[in-house]
Amino acid sequence: MPKEESSKVTRRSTRSSASATVENPEPIESHPPTIDDLTFGDESITLDAVLSDFPGRRSQIFDFIRLMGPLDCPTLPIMIYGGASTGKTSVVLQVLRHLNRPFVYSSCRTCYNPRILFESILNQLLLHRKCSSNGYSSAKRCDKPSDFVNLVREALSNVIKTLESASGTSRLNKPDEKPMGKMVYLILDNVDLIKDWDKGSMILQFLFSLDSVLKMPQLGIVLISGLPPDVYYSNMGYTDPIPLLFPEYSEEDLRQIFLRNQANPKLYSAFLDAVLRSFCRVTRRVEELSTTFSSLFRKYCEPLDDLGISPNEDMKRRLYSHLKPFIAPCLNDIFRVSTHPHDGETRGERRQKVSYSSENREELKILDFHMSTSAKYLLIAAFLASRNPATLDASMFDSTGGMDNRKRKRKASEKSMEKKEIAEQEAVMKGPGSFPLERLMAIFQCIASVGDSSFGEENEGEEEEDATGYDRENNNLMSDILLQVSSLCDANFLIKSGSCPLEGSIRYRSMVSEDLALKVAKSLSFPLAKYLYRR
């Protein structure tokens, strides 16, 4: 018989850890895992419970159960696909809990490379749990698909032998429990993430043809993917698994989902009547809607003293009119998770802030993070450097302070308007321009001095000025400034954009949107609009 060496990975220990004694030995594992652990484990649930847990997924649940088939029914591989938060993983796991069949679950999000994925599947099949007694190591070391196939064959045949002997003896303890059967199901979640792995396409092809490589009819394979199956088509072929689509929820389903587990369903359903339709126009994903609805519902219930009453028509209208001004700004904030804690004392302050923002919906809001003054000036300087062409610096930053917008008085001809449009389009496509560090410093010095309202002192607007030639007052700021530039780079407000091969200096690019720059300028009371070059 072939004998293979055991593959315990021996770890090299440092001198200090080898000499240190263990202070608190951990308690010994209560029990090693058994074959029963391959099923879901908790109390099994009825089909009605599964159907009521997942409103709107009735047909998909029935389809999945039919594809799985009755007990011990061989099956071809199945692929379940759909958008995010459509309930794929939870439906699969709950159906397997209902059917009480043994399964092995691995997600390609937590197992982020092939070795971890293979070892996780093997650990579950070999009923091996990582604990301190075995040094948190896997049962077998496996990083190649060829080893995986051999090891899985062995492990699966052992598991199936155990299952067959277990099903032979009658189970006396729980007579109404469903039998476990003789098949094991392998569930791989987030298969679409494998595309970004190293050699991902080979691994994907291997997984899709796993059933024909293994040739074991007692293994059923279920793949869960966020992307539709046609994404995986490549010039390496394989046979398609059977697809099962989980579409996005419709409005009716969303209403039922949100009405579950609510303390006061009538009140909440009145609330949903008011907001659901308009929010569904933006997105229909449950996770994005639920964060917005929870904060909006709090606002909705503000005028009510007793949250347990069921509203009549008149009250509904009153509550809706109270809520109405908040809906539109909330729509624009729908993907933003608020950083402010929700407690009752700050309610007055929040109302004030919200009313301020509802006044000028499209206008500026307050900058909601803190930056030092020099960093703010640097940010504005970078924004200007990216937006304005370099040749205009001299005229822009001269002693009169700001470009004279009254220059353009000539009526533009048709051809030049066309040229202007094309130039505008090209500018939009190119994005913000890049600039060397010296130009940034020069602009920064100019506008920082403008902010200090000391006009006549500086008249340098040229690019190539040496930074240390400036006023003594600003000299001690220079080292700080270079530090600020690197921290702005870390915060992704500036990015390094490649160096000019002739000059050798690094060029930067500003990644700040115009809204943010206007907000920062407003907080400094800096007239940004005067310095922006508009074609």
Partner: protein, 454 residues
């Protein structure tokens, strides 16, 4: 244990048949000029005459090459119990030559009850294999090498190891060379779905390869009808209740002779031609069987056909929200205006222009639209036009649509996001926006006001 209802039993039986290749390809290979007989003839003559041989089995994926080979090998192992041993390699798993030699050595050890050490080096493995080949040749034992996914063994790959250059097909060369020089009896059978797999071989490998090819063509309609009957008819043994078997088989006969069923099959065969896709179709239909009556019906087959014929981009567009549809329509309008490269900022400008001229009520801030874009990108309806340009943020990178105009139009027409009482109030204006393209002065068009009543 316990009583199984007959419907479940028959379902188990049929599904088991569908997942068992030998059951399916047995009757298909029964005739005398089938691929099965040809293959069996070649291999059995090389076993009896003690000569070397190499064959390629070619055909599209799912036409049963591996299944027929398994049938042949099974028959030969029965016929010549002691003089045949089989080594199986797969191009997916063992394309690396180190891996391949290790696997061959391991399988040879298992056959001949020898000890196998995982730590053996590449050279040791190759010496061992050559020695085994010689021994088996002297003992008049034939080794059959089955190389699945043959084209992956033959493909040029860049490997990190310094002694493996691009294009060296080391395993194939050593196998075929050993067959020629050592006194060995070996048959190398390659299986590939690339019809030009032998063109991929290097000159020296090709010269040692006998150019025998067996093509696996799609089966004819008669063969498939016979297969259908063979699969779906229940055996008349006593494990089923007596009336059930005859009722089931009669229902099958009714369905297969129905004209609508023949139409369904014709539609199916317009798109799929291999045996495996046919099996998947039957599997879908059978799994939809009504468990109370225990009989198949025509509706099962219709539903299975619609499941096999998916329209993925249509599904993606149907899952979009109204804002995302607006963004798609804006991108399409930019394309019609001959602006072939556009990025997020230009799409936002178009969006604002539409809002200004058409007074739509769906005008959202930029951060909301960016998330809408992200959702569209996740669903693979749009993508970035070039992969480089990573130094730009997502807003400035050029994008492109991955769906065509007609798909977008069809998706919008069948979109479900409209209340029942106002069927076209939401999507209708979008469609007219979409259709009123090509006009630069858009403000001349009709003003469409949208009223959403609470």
């Amino acid at each position: 244990m316990g009583k199984e209802i007959p419907a479940e039993k028959s379902l188990n039986l049929i599904r088991g048949r569908l997942c068992d290749p030998s059951f399916i390809f047995g009757p298909l290979s029964a005739s005398s000029d089938s691929n099965y007989s040809k293959l069996k003839f070649i291999v059995s003559t090389s076993i009896t005459e003690g000569c070397n041989n190499s064959i390629l089995l070619l055909g599209p994926r799912g036409s049963g090459k591996a299944a027929v080979l398994d049938l042949v090998v099974g028959d030969l192992l029965e016929q010549f119990p002691d003089s045949v041993s089989v080594i199986r390699l797969n191009g997916l798993l063992h394309s690396d030559d180190n891996c391949a030699f290790k696997e061959i050595a391991r399988q040879l050890c298992m056959e001949h009850h020898l000890l196998f050490s995982k730590m053996a080096s590449f050279d040791e493995n190759s010496h061992f294999i050559i020695a085994m080949l010689r021994e088996c040749g002297l003992a008049h034992k034939t080794i059959i090498f089955v190389l699945d996914e043959f084209d992956m063994f033959a493909q040029a790959r860049i490997l990190i190891s310094f002694n493996l250059l691009i294009g060296k097909q080391r395993l194939l060369y050593s196998l075929l060379d050993a067959m020629q020089s050592v006194t060995s009896q070996a048959v190398v059978i390659g299986i590939s779905s690339r019809l030009d797999a032998d063109q991929l071989l290097e000159k020296r490998v090709r010269s040692r390869f006998s150019h025998r090819k067996i093509l696996f063509l799609p089966p004819s309609r008669d063969e498939l009808d016979g297969l259908l009957e063979h699969l779906l008819s229940l055996p008349a043994d006593s494990s089923f209740p007596s009336g059930y078997v005859s009722r089931f088989n009669d229902k099958i006969k009714n369905i297969t002779s129905d004209r609508r069923f023949k139409d369904i099959l014709k539609t199916f065969f317009n798109a799929h031609s291999t045996v495996n896709s046919f099996l998947k179709f039957i599997f879908c239909a059978v799994s939809l069987m009504n468990l109370e009556s225990g009989l198949l019906s025509l509706e099962n087959f219709k539903a299975a056909l619609s499941r096999m014929q998916r329209q993925p981009k249509l599904e993606a567009v149907r899952d979009c929200s109204v804002l995302e549809l607006y963004l798609l329509v804006c991108m399409r309008r930019l394309e019609v205006k001959e602006q072939n490269s556009y990025n997020f900022i230009s799409v936002m400008k178009e969006y604002k222009a539409i809002h200004d001229s058409f007074q739509t009520s769906d005008y959202y801030a930029q951060n909301v639209c960016i998330r809408g874009f992200e959702h569209l990108r996740e669903r693979q309806v749009i993508c970035y036009a070039e992969n480089r340009g990573q130094s730009q943020t997502g807003e400035y990178r050029p994008m492109k649509l991955l769906i065509s105009a007609s798909e977008l139009h069809q998706g919008m027409r069948s979109h479900a996001c409209c209340p029942v009482s106002h069927p076209s109030q939401v999507i209708g204006p979008l469609i007219s926006l979409f259709l009123s393209l090509g006009n630069k002065t858009v403000s001349q068009g009709p003003v469409i006001c949208m009223f959403i009543s609470w």
